[in-house]
Point group: C2
Chain length 330, copies 2
């Protein structure tokens, strides 16, 4: 069978703690060398659009798959498709919209990083950005730490107030909207930077000078060379930088700028797969920074969770026998 | 809208002359530099399976898309999916099974090559191989030359006899099954080699010593390093070798063997995009060889033809609004 899932179908299946655990499992598999995952393919269009393709083979989880996403011009919207192949069945088992799931799996990966990098007793979080990624990244942090209180800043007062109300209802924690980024990050244990600041005059939403002893920062917005979010000092001031893939040196504008300024000290950088495979113990006085750009492992494990939940909940359309098979004689 | 098309749906839409013309248009666009097409991604599984991904952006035709195909182990069947994106609509307009279409577009590309490389007065063809690719490649040659008579050889007498009967009915030409490859290729104007000989002791189905003055040979079966079909002398004896992509030096076992034996003289090799963009005139005494491994352009143009025909014929399932769009504020 092949399950066809719309964005709304996907949203109904999301089980954030399960996705955090599955992505952690996938990242551990990456460390064990049982994953074949080349750098993502970045194709360009003449009108400043793009077509990106991210495949992986995960031998331990018995899954293959890919995400592609595209826009025709720089004025167009982005669309995402995720395909999941079950290697035991040798079949395409799901085709799903990857729009909402991309935000979910980015959040879930932040959850994995936060599980290892934030202080065990972390109770407060400061949020910069009140969009979809702001929501999923907060939800994931709440899945791995006992968060009691959050502050949120974004430039639009109505949006940050709505975010505070909505997410407080959803997560059962106190959330306050504040009118400056400094107020949002002051005195908190964890900071999530999840913005889309590329069209503002000052694209920097978070400054390294705001980092205090013991804080853990997650930054997920700068995923292409032209997207910016955190300044180079954020990388300089961090005692430990953890990344989801080393390829982000060619993908993230934030990292590229820090490199150019000589503020990205590779001796402080470790991959998330090394952290989750341990042994790793955080020094509670350290400043830690998790920077991600996304990998196919995250998409495939997120998509696999959606597929399993959708089957259990009888969600989606089963396009049985969708792909014919070509038998090779042996 | 997004049209979902099964293999049977695809088969009902096939218009071979239209696909030959569309692929020729796509290859001309490749020459004009309006195509972004990286080398295909070849991922491997632990069980000798594979996952291959072939994307392209075609700015002139306003199409993007990809094909992926996979098998989990070397014992598994292969499945294919093709996705077509209309750049003017900025939307995924079709998802289709790529099994039959892969054979069709391979044939159609042979058709493009034969249009330029075979003698204008070619009337006879010899076929080695009586499988699906044997059918589509013959059909495509008949779309570009007035073929009156064909001979077909494959090791299984029943299969070649059935092929002769079936394709004679379909194409309205005389086809004779013969009991040796030499008989099939003797005295003909065009030769199609379209086999799957990888599991035989002698994997070579065609020898260069069989090439006579003025013949044009199409060979499409050796598309991975382990697949073989024509011997190294076929490349040595050809006066002109035309390829669908220069990457085939790393993809085709036939080409790799000819290279290793010093029988692949690159000064005789031209890309199909250069031939169709002319000026090019065949010398009727020359021996010409077209060797293809397949490109994403062929899949996308083939898929686009299927999509247009399916719309006109009201075939397939319209999964309207399948992919949500993520709007970026400007």
């Amino acid at each position: 069978m092949t399950l066809l899932l719309s964005d709304r179908d996907v949203a109904r299946t999301i089980n954030m703690p399960a996705i955090v655990d599955l992505i952690e499992q996938g990242i551990r598999e990456e460390k064990n060398g049982r994953v074949d995952m080349p750098p993502r393919m970045n194709l360009d269009t003449e009108g400043n659009g793009f077509f990106r393709v991210m495949p992986a083979v995960m031998n331990g989880s018995k899954l293959m798959g890919l995400k592609f996403f595209f826009r025709s011009t720089d004025q167009s919207a982005v669309r995402y498709l995720i395909a999941i192949i079950d290697m035991e069945k040798n079949d395409l088992v799901a085709l799903m919209d990857g729009h909402y799931l991309t935000a979910v799996r980015t959040g879930a990966t932040t959850g994995v990083a936060t599980r290892y990098l934030a202080r065990k007793d972390a109770k407060t979080i400061g949020l910069i950005g009140s969009g979809l990624e702001g929501r999923t990244n907060l939800e994931a942090v709440c899945a791995v730490r006992n968060i009691e209180y959050a502050k949120v800043y974004s430039p639009n007062a109505e949006r940050r107030e709505f975010f505070a109300w909505e997410m407080s209802e959803k997560l059962g924690i106190r959330i306050e909207a504040v009118d400056s980024p400094e107020k949002a990050v002051e005195g908190v244990d964890i900071i999530n930077v999840a913005t889309n600041t590329s069209t503002r005059n000052n694209m920097i939403a978070f400054y390294g000078k705001w980092m205090r002893e013991g804080v853990h920062v997650n930054a997920i917005g700068s995923t292409t060379p032209s997207l910016r979010e955190i300044d180079a000092d954020s990388f300089r001031n961090a005692d430990l930088i953890v990344v989801d893939t080393m390829y982000l040196e060619e993908e993230s504008g934030d990292v590229m700028d820090a490199l150019a300024q000589g503020k990205y000290d590779r001796s402080k950088v470790r991959e998330l797969k090394d952290i989750v495979s341990g042994p790793f113990e955080r020094d509670d006085r350290q400043i830690t920074l998790f920077k991600s750009v996304g990998t196919a492992i995250q998409d495939i494990m997120g998509g696999y969770s959606v597929y399993k939940e959708a089957n259990a909940l009888d969600i989606g359309i089963d396009i049985r026998g969708f792909l014919e098979s070509k038998i090779f004689k042996k």
